[in-house]
């Protein structure tokens, strides 16, 4: 298994674990108020704003740990080159990921159309973010495994 394939798996686990843990912690603080109250909107605003730096920091930390462990365990150094094939695979994976996220956003908007509470819309938005990240990592893994 190549370094890039391992990296895609680590990123996949990272996306699931970090968002899962963060959601588990934050959902315990869900306000006990009307679904249309200001508190609920404040809660979801904070949920998204905190999630962004948390996932960035977690990504950086896990990336550093993975690079160190990888170089110790299998004497495999991170490639300093990002060549045209890497860029092509990244672009393809990102395109698939963006399509997935767009479907999620449409579903989230659709939930408002069918008179679901705003919480449903926010949960669908978060779900779309997680699923699109997972799709990106799986696509990257698949393309690297296939060769292009």
């Amino acid at each position: 298994m190549s370094y890039q394939e391992k990296r895609a798996i680590v990123s996949l686990v990272n996306s699931i674990v970090v968002t899962g843990l963060y959601s588990a912690v934050m959902l315990q603080r869900y306000p006990d108020a009307s679904p249309y109250s200001v508190e609920v909107f404040h809660y979801w605003g904070a949920f998204f704003l905190i999630l962004i730096p948390v996932s960035i920091v977690a990504n950086i930390v896990i990336d550093i740990v993975f690079t160190i462990l990888s170089s110790i365990a299998v004497k495999e150094m991170a490639s300093s080159i990002t060549d045209e094939r890497d860029k092509l695979i990244e672009l393809r994976a990102t395109r698939i990921s963006l399509y997935t996220f767009a479907v999620g956003v449409l579903l989230a908007m659709g939930s408002l159309v069918v008179d679901r509470p705003p919480t449903t819309m926010f949960i669908l938005l978060i779900g779309a973010g997680v699923v699109s990240a997972i799709t990106r990592d799986i696509s990257q893994f698949y393309f690297y495994r296939r060769g292009s």
């Binding site: 060549d83 094939r85 060769g147």
Partner: protein
């Protein structure tokens, strides 16, 4: 229009150039070893620039490293 097929002689050329390793060729043309493996196995078709770089690494013209065969040509 048929499916285009681009084949290459990289494996043979590496062997003829003092058994040059995939890593050595990768370093010479500025890509990763995985990319050379993918090109050799015809899983990835390189850009024109990279194809010229590979040909130059063997001091050969492009058409002696890569060849193009269109299946529609065979039907004609």
């Amino acid at each position: 229009m048929g499916k285009p097929l681009i084949s290459n002689n990289i494996r043979k050329l590496r062997f003829n150039h003092d058994e040059m390793t995939q890593q050595a060729l990768a370093d010479k043309v500025g890509v990763t070893r995985q990319t050379i493996i993918a090109i050799e196995n015809a899983k990835y078709f390189p850009s024109l620039e990279l194809a010229f770089r590979v040909a130059r690494a063997f001091n050969l013209p492009l058409e002696e490293v890569f060849s193009f065969e269109d299946q529609s040509d065979n039907k004609a």
